[in-house]
Symmetry: C2
Subunit: 353 residues, 2 copies
Amino acid sequence: MPKNICIFEIMKTPQKRTTIYDIAKKLNIAASSVSRALSNSSKVNPATKALILKTAAEMNYQQNVMASNLRKGSNRTIGVVVPRINQGYFSNIIAGMEDITYNKGYNLIICQSNELHSREVDCVNALINQHVNCIVISIAAEQGGHEHLQQVLDHRIRLIQFDRVVDELETFKVINDNERASSEAVSHLIQQGYQRIALLEGPQNLDIFRQRKEGYLSALRKHGLPVLEELMCENAWTKELSAEATRKLLEMKNPPDAIFASTSDFSALGVLEVATQMGISVPEQLGICGYSNEPFTEITSPSITTIDQYSFSMGKTIANLFFQEMEVADLHIEPKIMSIKPKLLVRKSTQRL
Amino acid sequence: MPKNICIFEIMKTPQKRTTIYDIAKKLNIAASSVSRALSNSSKVNPATKALILKTAAEMNYQQNVMASNLRKGSNRTIGVVVPRINQGYFSNIIAGMEDITYNKGYNLIICQSNELHSREVDCVNALINQHVNCIVISIAAEQGGHEHLQQVLDHRIRLIQFDRVVDELETFKVINDNERASSEAVSHLIQQGYQRIALLEGPQNLDIFRQRKEGYLSALRKHGLPVLEELMCENAWTKELSAEATRKLLEMKNPPDAIFASTSDFSALGVLEVATQMGISVPEQLGICGYSNEPFTEITSPSITTIDQYSFSMGKTIANLFFQEMEVADLHIEPKIMSIKPKLLVRKSTQRL
DNA sequence: TATTTTTTGGCAATCGATTGCCAACTTAAA
DNA sequence: TTTAAGTTGGCAATCGATTGCCAAAAAATA
């Protein structure tokens, strides 16, 4: 034993964690019995069990999770990869998941991809490395392959995709019915008498944005309105980009009378700010609809019509999906896809009737 | 070997993870050399090392972190306990920490106490159980002891308290200078000509709220204004409670001409809403100052003066503190306290000059 | 009382990486 | 050529809980 350690042990109380061997030695029984008693096995006499439990408590025993993990090959951990932790939608998802996993004694390891594909790959690899029981992911906006997700499956780790998913990959999925929600939102605009409805699109390599566009198109068709290319703006998915796009739209000879910011409420906010600057009244001259129900949409003036995705309960759904369908089941069961219908929240920015 | 396992192995490719033993066997060398090569030890010949690395890559080797953890007694993990994950301030802290820990190959395990003391104790115990390298905590609002934090230290786990800290406990701390920031805010109000400034307080068992009150008082004293009991409202720390308190304040015979919502911007929002309802103009008749710089404060009308706590970079600071001061250092070094000075953001809700 | 069944509990291998110690080998110096 | 110093790499113990297998003991049955 190195000298410095000795000194340390003399200086401070040894404080070595008690192991099942310590308990076994003290009671003069085998460590295996202690282990069984602690895991409440029926193979140990109730009286002995009680004695062991009592002693363990007295000795302030705490299981060494690392040893248990190694032996069991599982660590009761779920890895989560999201674009950004500090974004209302995702932090609510995580909060919802934590609510469930906490009660099951599972841990959450959180990673953020920052919307970068390469970083997402790194995160996933790190989680594979950790032998997590399950990886829950919403993919980054940056274009990229999905070999890393295939790797997850190859390593026999359960995989749940949510929100932004890779369609081709057969995995469990928890998604929102973006198309239907968008269609409803646009239909609502039409019912309010808006005729020239512009669309702010997100990156079309993400399925969610394709679906929202599809919803927009189908609503127009359903109501017999023309689809006008000049009213659809690509890649307007930040507040700044949206503001820019809005400026262009509103300066057109024949400007739109409503804008559906399908990418996010931040985009909708950009729209509102530009409209206000330009002296265009909302909702009278311009209707605005956002997406996601960020808290601020309620307090802008006017308040912004948006779509609530039930993020917190979606997080719970994801966790429950794991525990109910995947935790113990065979790895090769048919993956389930759960679709949650978001809710249109009509606020002032679209009510002109 | 049980039969069903056999069947499984026949049905699916075995897919067993490659271990260092597999590599050793293939190259006809000892596992220890493989281990050393992989950890880039200088005790292995560069040529051999290269061969091992190449073979490892070919065999798709991935380290078994659980085994490594057990052996090393460390799992390169930091546990984080916060009242709520989905609260701008905390999710920013976590995002900031993740930014640093990601590059160091550390993992974050996230727990939320939901402001409940008992749940906080549970979370801390779970993290102790996990043998995390460090616990980072901001304590719950509910009153309770701090034996659980002492336990952390007793188990030789590093501990960093941030934001809401237990003062008596000698641990590393990363805090905001709440008193100074509050004092500045109130001084600003006074300079704007406000004379009767009310205070919305948070639970006084939390140090941060005591400090903010202290700052309020010291600013009043400094400027020779009287301290009026009737202008200080206890426990007004949600939007609803604040709205209620505001209503009472504004209905007084001699109402305040400014309200410092020291608890949060949500409280400030409650104030603003009530004022608007009552037809009281902000900032002319009533000045409002919040705390935390939630995103929405920028877009209310009028925008709300508030205090930015640099949450994201505070998260980085916390992580850096761990890596620079604690990761390898002796457990019994003098704990460091880092105080970050928040910044007053003057917006329209307090500018009447 | 003899035999079978059921309980109870110990032994030892296992999970996979790590590391102290020592041996073999290489290189350098005498 | 001999000795000393420095490299390289293998052996085996270790981390602590888990579990299949078997034996001893107890209980139930014949």
